[in-house]
Symmetry: C2
Subunit: 333 residues, 2 copies
């Protein structure tokens, strides 16, 4: 049995390109006691992979050259000598860009039990993106019915989930996205009450028009000029969740921007950094809620599925150029 | 009976100087039903008075020209035709810079019942400064035993209370102040574990030395370069309370500074604006706790008391030039 891997062959500086990866085939070894074999069906492509491929301090050490690219992936257990896993079970975890994984289970995040839903959802709405949206919005942003919720990268994998969860709980939702196609998706696919095209509109003015009582919650994936504009329109007691920093490519030295202190003071607002890893013991809450909303048709998912391992090397670049039309996934089985 | 008032005679731009005020004497009118007469003994001098005197949008409308300067003050009821107030009671409130006040009670913040303590404390440690320290530290900063708490303007009326309350509840305290005299007061009078002279030291380096495990709580009264330095030393889960913005003199247009977003994200920290007015229904909690600590000698207060109404006009300038050596008060009776 062959294992097809996409390995990090050269160290990128910045966004990894196809030229930094190579495809390699290796033999799948025999299982020993305590191990299981997973046949992987889908690889995830996430913004965090840029950081993992670069040799810079981050939440995790960089991927070693010659190793399969670190990524979330989902697959089926096809053989097991591990007491906790049985053949036929579906598992999700940091399995990397490879078609077959032998593991002692330490790479596995969870068993995917919502097998009535598309399996790829385990990497997006039922994975990092959806759980980030769920806890980021409900806990960090403390959104509640009646709040006006503004979301940046509103049509993205996280943003579109934030907007829809906010709508489910009774918020008014305003999405900020780039270009007519994404703003149309905000309105028509993800049910935002208003959508702002930051490439074509004055964001502060558009926020004023869309949020006459100010912004109660701002779920931010950008941290650049879009955020600076939203910060001028805070309601009293506003909550700002910093989830991603897509608009800033370089943090050393620290870039400068308008000081937020007085805006926070006058609005008695709070700005808070959010990382889903802090909620690892509560993920089941998000999984249960999200699966229910998906089954009830209250949340719509857009995926952009690439076909086969050879599509993976260029995928991170696609993501950073905004060329994907939904959660970016590579189907490999 | 004569009422001596310090009125705002000319509109300042920026910090009010002595030349913006005039002293005026008026006759005290007779009481009508529902009114009481207060003989004021102490006027407060607070940073907020700069904003009140200027014609700019703020939490409250500007003081009208010709009116007594708005300020907190404390005094004794010397006559009452009001059912809720009796002769001999001590009251504190926004009574303004005048020696006698006839009021229907709407200007009164509270009755001062801790008459065993110096009456002037009602304007500082038992007033805005102490209650701000109490709720800002315990609620907004959510400080708890074992936390490392950093305070800017650490020897000031608010800062010195923050540092001492933090110490009472079992925190390690680090004060930042300007000059050898204030840093010595931090260590010798207010019991900080460490003190940093921002005029003489590299603040980021000094914070690293004083806070080897990072900063859990930062109580900020400055919002300028000192804060920028503290923000580089956050512990995981840090809480930053924005209480004042003493280092920034002009907010329109917004000044620029290092972006805080990634620091908040990496540390999963939160930065929050604090205003004591949001706790007006819970002030009694702070009053009870602070009075207890004062009686037990766990909190030390430094006051800088000026004598007589003629000292008031120059007092706001003194405060902004940092010439006071404790909570600045004008004694008028």
């Amino acid at each position: 049995m062959k294992n097809t891997q996409v390995i990090l062959a050269r160290r990128p500086v910045g966004v990894p390109a196809a030229s930094h990866f190579e495809i390699r085939e290796t033999a799948v070894a025999d299982l020993t006691d305590g191990q299981l074999l997973i046949r992987v069906s889908h690889w995830s492509v996430d913004p965090a992979m840029r950081g993992w491929a670069n040799d810079v301090p981050n939440y995790s050490p960089p991927v070693a050259l010659g190793d399969p690219m670190r990524s979330f992936a989902v697959g089926e257990v096809i053989a097991s000598r591990h007491p906790d896993y049985a053949e036929g079970e579906v598992v999700e975890g940091l399995l990397g860009w490879q078609t077959h994984v032998i593991t002692d289970g330490s790479d596995i995040g969870r068993k995917v039990t919502e097998t009535d839903l598309p399996r790829s959802y385990a990497l997006g709405i039922m994975g990092l993106n959806g759980t980030t949206a769920y806890f980021g919005l409900l806990e960090s942003c403390a959104a509640k019915a009646g709040d006006t919720v503004v979301v940046s990268t509103a049509a993205g994998a996280v943003g579109s989930a934030v907007g829809q969860v906010a709508k489910v709980i009774g918020c008014r939702t305003v999405g900020i996205a780039g270009g007519p196609e994404k703003t149309r998706a905000c309105l028509e696919t993800f049910g935002y009450d208003a959508a702002i095209d930051y490439k074509a509109e004055d964001v502060a003015g558009a926020i004023s028009a869309a949020c006459p009582d100010g912004v109660d919650c701002y779920f931010d994936n950008t941290c650049g000029p879009i955020s600076d504009a939203v910060m001028t329109r805070l309601a009293q007691g506003a909550r700002i969740t910093i989830c991603g920093t897509a608009a800033i490519t370089e943090w050393d030295p620290l870039p400068v921007g308008p000081r937020v202190h007085r805006q926070l003071l006058v609005a008695r607002a709070r700005m808070q950094g959010f990382l889903i890893f802090d909620y690892k013991d509560r993920l089941h809450e998000a999984h249960a809620a999200l699966a229910g909303w998906l089954r009830d048709g209250k949340i719509t998912v857009r995926e952009h599925i690439l076909d086969g391992p050879e599509a993976a090397p260029g995928a991170i670049g696609m993501l950073y150029r905004g060329e994907n039309t939904g959660k970016l996934i590579v189907k490999v089985g």
